[in-house]
């Protein structure tokens, strides 16, 4: 018997056929992987299943009965709970309030029983390895902890189906293990799980079944163990297995040390409020320097401080030998620093504007004479970058907000590159990006470094960090606790440094 199934669903957005005659079935106790490139339609399928979107065609069946969920709440009441791709909680409310939103325990008077709510929240979260003040605002928690709260939220209700859209993209290794423990438990209780991720290792570790989407169409569904890894990737990308095998999975060349000795970026003694303490490092042209550490180690703040977006109390920043005093974002960009923020939705893209406007945003003065914009110049640049980054869209005039996550990320990168920067600061550049695009981004980073740029790379993916960087600066609690160089740049030594510092 199937728990949840759809037959022949289609969903059209203006200009895009996001789902085209897709069928999908989930059995009780099954962990079902949903994979595909960025924009393949995974999130859309999930939203159709959970009542966020109404499909244009197709039938939805739940526990054998045809159903139609008008709102996510309907789906939730019926026992389908979801962790969406972007953390979807309420940052200004407390952790406990988030956890119990809409189902707060009440006293006999009908008032919310806060004491009980806090107590239960503490207990529940402890089960997920989160020990935090449950009365603190959720937004003050690191992203990973927020994701765990979202997970707890989804699993807490008496669900029969749990949908997870890229739950691990902002989790650290320890948290990932906790999550897998939870999944195992759900699996044993006969709950069906739909699991979306771009991380192959994870899929093979926990999933039973796989459904592959490409360009909104179903290309394969079956047991995951029967499907070889290269074949899965080939199906996803729509390429030949032999091509994939030849190119491999990581495209980093492995040579990221630079010969030139004068750093293009030099940070010394950077301190900021209570978050950053005396951080120093340098990046030479052609070098990729990784910033390692656990979530909350202060990597993002370091990057933002360099980019002029986080207040600096002490310390010096030099770009190409020229000091950047009292950095502001305007000065930083002018000095040749380009920053890709961690939170693409809130700080990266401008969703209401077109791809074209987004890419041209930082270089408008160069695209204009006497303040008048030249569309021809912009078109040329936009066209070049859309091709180079292989941005998949209806055209340069499509709203960025309507693109899939991966393509939004590419638009963002295109904006950075268009400024012709000397230093690139990349905060989780491949988070939520499919293997194909990930390889492209990684290749791009390589290529840019080879062209002489200095790159600072933040990634929670240890493998990516190690393979992509020539040197890794390890942070903890806002301070440098170690630097890995040369042959020392390995996953093992990275984890060891983090662990050692933590001890």
């Amino acid at each position: 018997m199937t728990l949840l199934e759809v037959a022949g669903v289609s969903k059209v957005f203006p200009g895009v056929r996001a789902l085209d005659d897709v069928s999908f079935a989930l059995r009780p106790g099954e962990v079902h992987a949903l994979v595909g490139e960025n924009g393949a339609g995974k999130s859309t399928l999930i939203k159709v299943l959970t009542g966020v979107y109404r499909p244009d065609a197709g039938e939805l069946r739940y526990q054998g009965e045809p159903v139609s969920f008008a709102t996510p709440m309907d789906a939730q009441r019926a026992g389908i709970s979801t962790i969406y791709q972007e953390v979807n909680l309420i940052p200004l409310m407390s952790v406990a309030q988030n956890l119990f939103l809409g189902r707060e325990p009440r006293t006999t008077l009908g008032l919310v029983d806060r004491a009980r709510m806090d107590r239960e929240a503490r207990d529940i979260l402890a089960g997920y390895g989160v020990t935090t003040d449950v009365r603190a605002r959720l937004g003050s928690l690191p992203l990973g902890a927020q994701q765990m709260v979202a997970l707890a939220c989804a699993v807490m209700i008496d669900a029969k189906v749990v949908v997870m859209d890229e739950p691990t993209s902002s989790l650290e290794p320890r948290e990932v293990e906790t999550l897998f423990g939870v999944i195992q438990d759900l699996h044993e209780r006969g709950i069906g799980i739909i699991y979306v991720s771009h991380r192959m290792d994870e899929l093979y570790r926990i999933c039973d079944t796989v459904t592959i989407l490409r360009d909104g169409k179903l290309v394969h569904t079956g047991r995951l163990a029967d499907l070889e890894r290269v074949r899965l990737v080939a199906l996803m990308l729509g390429r030949e297995v032999s091509d994939v095998r030849r190119e491999g999975f990581t495209v980093f060349s492995g040579d990221h040390a630079a010969a030139d000795d004068t750093p293009v970026l030099r940070v010394s003694g950077l301190s900021s409020r209570n978050r950053l303490h005396d951080i120093s490092f340098g990046v030479r042209p052609g070098e990729v320097v990784g910033l390692g550490g656990l979530l909350g180690a202060g990597r993002s703040e370091t990057i933002k401080a360099i980019a002029g977006a986080y207040p600096v109390d002490r310390g010096e920043i030099e770009v190409d030998g020229a000091p950047l005093r009292h950095p502001t974002t305007v000065k930083a960009v002018a000095a040749g620093i380009a920053v890709q923020p961690e939170d693409r939705k809130a700080e990266g893209i401008i969703p209401g504007l077109s791809i074209r406007e987004n890419i041209a945003l930082s270089i408008l003065p160069r695209m204009s004479t006497f303040g008048l914009v030249s569309d021809a110049k912009i078109d040329e640049v936009v066209d070049r970058f859309m091709k180079r980054l292989r941005i998949k869209a209806a055209g340069p005039h499509q709203r960025v907000g309507d693109l899939s996550g991966g393509n939004q990320q590419k638009v963002l990168l295109a904006r950075l590159l268009a400024t012709g920067p000397k230093v690139l600061l990349l905060d989780e550049p491949t988070r939520g990006i499919d293997v194909g695009a990930k390889a492209e981004v990684q290749a791009l980073i390589d290529e840019l470094a080879a062209e002489g740029l200095g790159v600072v790379l933040v990634s929670s993916d240890a493998e990516e960090l190690v393979e992509g960087s020539g040197r890794v600066v390890v942070l903890r609690d806002g301070a440098v606790v170690g630097v890995l160089t040369g042959d020392d740049v390995t996953t093992e030594s990275l984890l060891a440094t983090i662990a050692e510092a933590g001890a």
Binding site: V52, P72, Y84, N88, I90, M93, Q97, E104, R106, L111
Partner: protein, 321 residues
């Protein structure tokens, strides 16, 4: 996280929340020292009675603003409520209260439904309601020329009588404000209000009835504005038609001074109470100074508003560092 850090953050939050209260305390202390007339208990009672209707309006506005909305129609609903209450008082006490509440609640419902179901901006929907409700008020009062006189003694007493030396309406408003606090901080509806303002999408995905919550706050705001007009009519003894202009902006100013974010998702009723009282006390002080030209009064009010809001912004920022 250390215990100390938690305690520190708590203190910080309290400070942010009670910023308006702190400013109010300072202003009152200065006034007590500087103006002998300010000290009389009668004066305090006058301030409280005058603050009663705006307090109700600001209370409703607080709910609306926490959801990230705004309600510009309250000034018109206030006048309409007063006119209807006075007119209906000829049919008895119950009618005098029920009629304005029913009509103003219905207009609030219309506001809420339009905002929740069509996705139109609250600013513009309630701006239309501002015009529409004023038009309705004029339509029921011969273009504003008929002033209905309150004809029910019990109803009149509601506005003019007092208990333990404190005006009836002050008691009434105090009770409603306390109820409002409980609703906002201790009920599921209250949590939903914060959730909708904090992140509408997330709230919807987490199963909060977003539409119902939105409609709820506008109905509440309409009801409270109507009730404010009603108790004011009971006090004045008639349905004065030339009231209410600019009342919505006063209410918004009070709410903002009280520390509620116009972006939604955060705010407290205690802050709003302090905000309303602060505006009332400033008004009273300007009068205490006496011979001030009316135009200067407005200049000073504007400057003071800017000062308080700017000071608050910096206080909050100071706390964050």
């Amino acid at each position: 996280m250390t215990v100390l850090a938690v305690a520190q953050r708590r203190a910080g939050h309290a400070f942010q929340r009670q910023g308006a209260l702190a400013v109010l305390a300072v202003v009152v202390l200065i006034a007590l020292a500087a103006f002998p007339n300010f000290r009389s208990p009668d004066n305090a009672a006058t301030i409280l009675v005058a603050a009663a209707p705006p307090m109700l309006i600001a209370l409703g506005m607080t709910f609306v603003i926490i959801t990230g909305g705004i309600d510009l129609s309250v000034g018109s609903l206030y006048v309409l409520g007063g006119v209807l209450a006075s007119w209906a008082s000829q049919y008895g006490f119950v009618a005098a209260i029920a009629v304005p509440l029913a009509v103003c609640g219905a207009i609030g419902l219309l506001n809420g439904a339009l905002i929740a179901y069509t996705g139109m901006a609250p600013f513009i929907v309630t701006l239309a309601a501002l015009l529409g409700a004023r038009g309705l008020m004029r339509a029921v009062s011969d273009e504003g020329s008929t002033t209905y006189i309150v004809q029910n003694d019990a109803f009149h007493t509601l506005g003019t009588g007092s208990l333990l030396g404190i005006g009836n309406q002050v008691w009434l408003v105090a009770i409603i404000v306390l109820l409002g606090m409980v609703v906002l901080s201790r009920t599921r509806f209250g949590n939903a209000v914060y959730a909708v303002g904090g992140s509408e999408d997330a709230a919807a995905l987490m199963g909060v009835a977003v539409r119902r919550t939105r409609i709820g706050v506008y109905v509440l705001s309409g009801l409270l504005a109507g009730l404010a007009g009603t108790i004011n009519a009971a006090k004045l003894g008639s349905g004065v038609t030339v009231l209410g202009a600019g009342m919505e902006l006063d209410a918004i100013a009070a709410v903002v001074i009280g520390g509620t974010l116009l972006t939604g998702g955060a705010g407290t009723i205690a802050g709003t109470v302090a905000g309303v009282l602060l505006l009332g006390v400033i008004q009273n002080l300007i009068n205490q100074v006496g011979d001030l030209n009316s135009n200067w009064q407005q200049v000073i009010s504007g400057a003071f508003l800017a000062l308080v809001v700017v000071a608050q912004t910096y206080l909050v920022r100071l706390r964050r560092t």
